[in-house]
């Protein structure tokens, strides 16, 4: 069995000091009998978009349900805007949730579903709120059709409309891009980004790394019920000092540059590949500082310097394989 990453890989909370995070998870665990679904997780989230990443069964949905007050923590506390999430229905005045399960009342139309949510939220003008939410999620054309006739992507948008009718300050989305076509995904990303820019706290889970990379300001990586890492994924990558960083460099003389770099303390491997040189270094900062000097001293012109393993995909795979 693969062991979870050591806790040291996880930077501390993401919220800025002295600012009460909108969402705070404080040493939270949740177990079902002998099975530990979430294991002593702590973090805080403020305004912005955060991606929740993890392989299937890692505990992403459990964590989202704990934050939505739909599960009681076995240990620890979940605070939404400073108050306990569990057994506090008033919480839902400020929180919206898009659950992963597709089921929505299939006999309602999209507009009726949004209106139902608005009425249950006690919104002053349910019809207006429903119409705005339907327009926001780009579902006007299908708004008056029963949800039972919707495609998967349309259901996702109907669910989002239902979660937006009361304009929540905190939005939790469990796999919101499931079933959406590329145009719909792009629309959803733009929408979530604009909502985050308005100061909302948005946390979404996804197994599609590219989406998280494009949308999220920061990530939470959950593995085997533990928080493997939290924060900006490039910063997380730099903290992984036991994993060499790799760079691809194109220059006027790759062979001479490779030989010169081998003499530098920050570099412990170079490989000449057709058209470029691949460099491995343990110290990201030292290498990026040394490279221009080494190139100048060797009279080599640099055409391109590109880190090849600081993508979210690399970070994620390092974290879950440690």
């Amino acid at each position: 069995m693969t062991q979870p990453p050591s806790p040291s890989a996880a930077p501390a909370v993401t919220a800025a000091p002295n600012v009460t995070p909108a969402l705070e998870v404080d040493h939270v665990s949740r177990w079902y009998g002998n099975v530990v679904a979430v294991n002593d997780i702590s973090f805080g989230l403020g305004a912005g978009v955060t991606g929740l990443l993890g392989p299937n069964g890692a505990g992403k949905s459990t964590l989202l349900h704990l934050m939505a007050g739909l599960l009681a923590p076995s240990a620890g506390r979940v605070l939404v805007e400073g108050a306990d999430a569990w057994r506090r229905p008033e919480l839902y005045r400020h929180l919206g949730l898009v659950p992963e399960r597709e089921s929505v009342h299939s006999f309602l139309t999209g507009r009726e579903f949004a209106r139902l949510n608005a009425r249950l939220q006690g919104v002053a003008d349910p019809d207006g709120a429903a119409a705005r939410a339907i327009a926001t999620v780009d579902l006007i054309d299908a708004a008056d059709r029963p949800i039972g006739t919707y495609s998967k992507g349309m259901r996702q948008r109907a669910k989002l409309a239902g979660a937006l009718v009361h304009e929540p300050r905190v939005l939790l989305l469990d796999e919101p891009f499931n079933g959406m076509d590329p145009r719909q995904r792009l629309h959803m990303m733009t929408l979530l980004r604009s909502m985050a820019a308005e100061g909302r706290t948005i946390l979404f889970s996804s197994h599609i790394l590219e989406e998280v990379e494009r949308l999220a300001d920061s990530v939470l990586v959950v593995y085997a019920g533990r928080l493997a890492a939290a924060g900006d994924f490039r910063s997380i990558r730099r903290l992984m000092t036991d994993r060499p960083h790799t760079f691809t460099v194109r220059s006027s003389d790759d062979r001479r540059l490779a030989a010169a770099l081998m003499a530098d303390a920050s570099v412990f491997g170079t490989e000449l590949v057709t058209g470029h040189v691949a460099i491995r270094t343990a110290d990201y900062d030292a290498f990026t500082r040394a490279l221009p000097t080494v190139a100048r001293d060797a009279a080599v012109t640099l055409f391109e310097v590109r880190p090849t393993d600081d993508s979210l995909e690399s970070v994620f795979s390092y974290l879950v394989r440690r």
Binding site: A37, N56, G57, A58, G59, K60, S61, T62, L64, H65, A68, G69, L70, L71, A72, R87, P89, E90, L91, Y92, R93, L95, L97, P99, E100, R101, E102, S103, V104, H105, F107, L108, L116, N117, R119, L120, Q121, G122, G162, D174
Partner: protein, 239 residues
């Protein structure tokens, strides 16, 4: 009430799906069909017996069971209950709405059957007494059943099976054999209410005061337990 209106509406629309409505109408129509057959075949008219054996002992608990367990149980099973739970609504309002809908729908199915059966067959004693006695008894008894089954479905996903076991085994067999179990029988309390109006009920029904007390306790406990359970609602599934 403003929050209960959408809760009641969505529960009603969910319950009145085509297949379930047809099944319930067929079930509730059984006593009427039986009364028609007796009437056509020239059998001895005795609506009291049909209403006692077929409606109170069989059809009413089954109708209440189907409606009561579906009122929120089916929403929990298919995941749509979460949209009601993630709202700033007191949990007691959700429980009350579900119980009101289940009780109302049970009454809407059963009371016409009681009236039609009684009017078609008449009574050997006094038809008006039969109509009033069974109508009131079914109204409160059906509500108690519906409330109990709504709450049962909040505690277990096997509410239909357990409810059926209660109706068939506990009320059908044990309450006839063990005298003490009568006090935990909605059926016996329902018959006790009918008897209080002068309807002839075979056997030894509960005293009117005790019957009313049992039904009030069932309704109150079902509502309190339902609200308590909803306040601690935990979502199923997920990773």
């Amino acid at each position: 009430m403003s929050v209960m209106a959408p809760l009641i509406e969505v529960t009603l629309r969910g319950l009145l799906g085509r297949r379930r409505t047809i099944l319930l109408a067929l079930l509730a129509g059984l006593p009427v069909l039986m009364a028609l057959l007796i009437k056509v075949s020239g059998g001895r008219p005795d609506s009291d017996r049909i209403l006692d054996t077929l409606v109170v002992r069989t059809v009413m608990p089954l109708v209440a069971l189907i409606i009561g367990t579906a009122a929120i149980g089916s929403e929990i099973d298919d995941g749509t209950a979460v949209y009601l739970i993630i709202k700033p609504i007191p949990r007691s309002r959700i429980a009350l709405s579900k119980i009101l809908v289940a009780a109302g729908l049970t009454a809407a199915m059963i009371i016409p059957a009681v009236l039609l059966t009684a009017l078609l067959l008449g009574s050997r004693n006094d038809t008006a007494t039969t109509v009033v006695g069974f109508t009131v008894a079914c109204l409160v008894g059906g509500s108690a059943y519906a409330a109990a089954f709504v709450t049962l479905s909040l505690f277990t996903s096997r509410a239909l099976l357990l409810g059926l076991a209660y109706v068939l085994i506990w009320e059908g067999v044990l309450s006839g054999l063990l005298e003490g179990t009568k006090f935990l029988s909605i059926r016996q309390a329902t018959l006790g209410v009918a008897a209080a109006f002068g309807v002839h009920v075979p056997g030894d029904p509960l005293a009117p005061g005790v019957s009313v007390a049992v039904l009030i306790v069932v309704l109150a406990v079902a509502f309190a337990l339902g609200s308590w359970r909803l306040a601690r609602f935990e979502i199923r599934g997920g990773d």
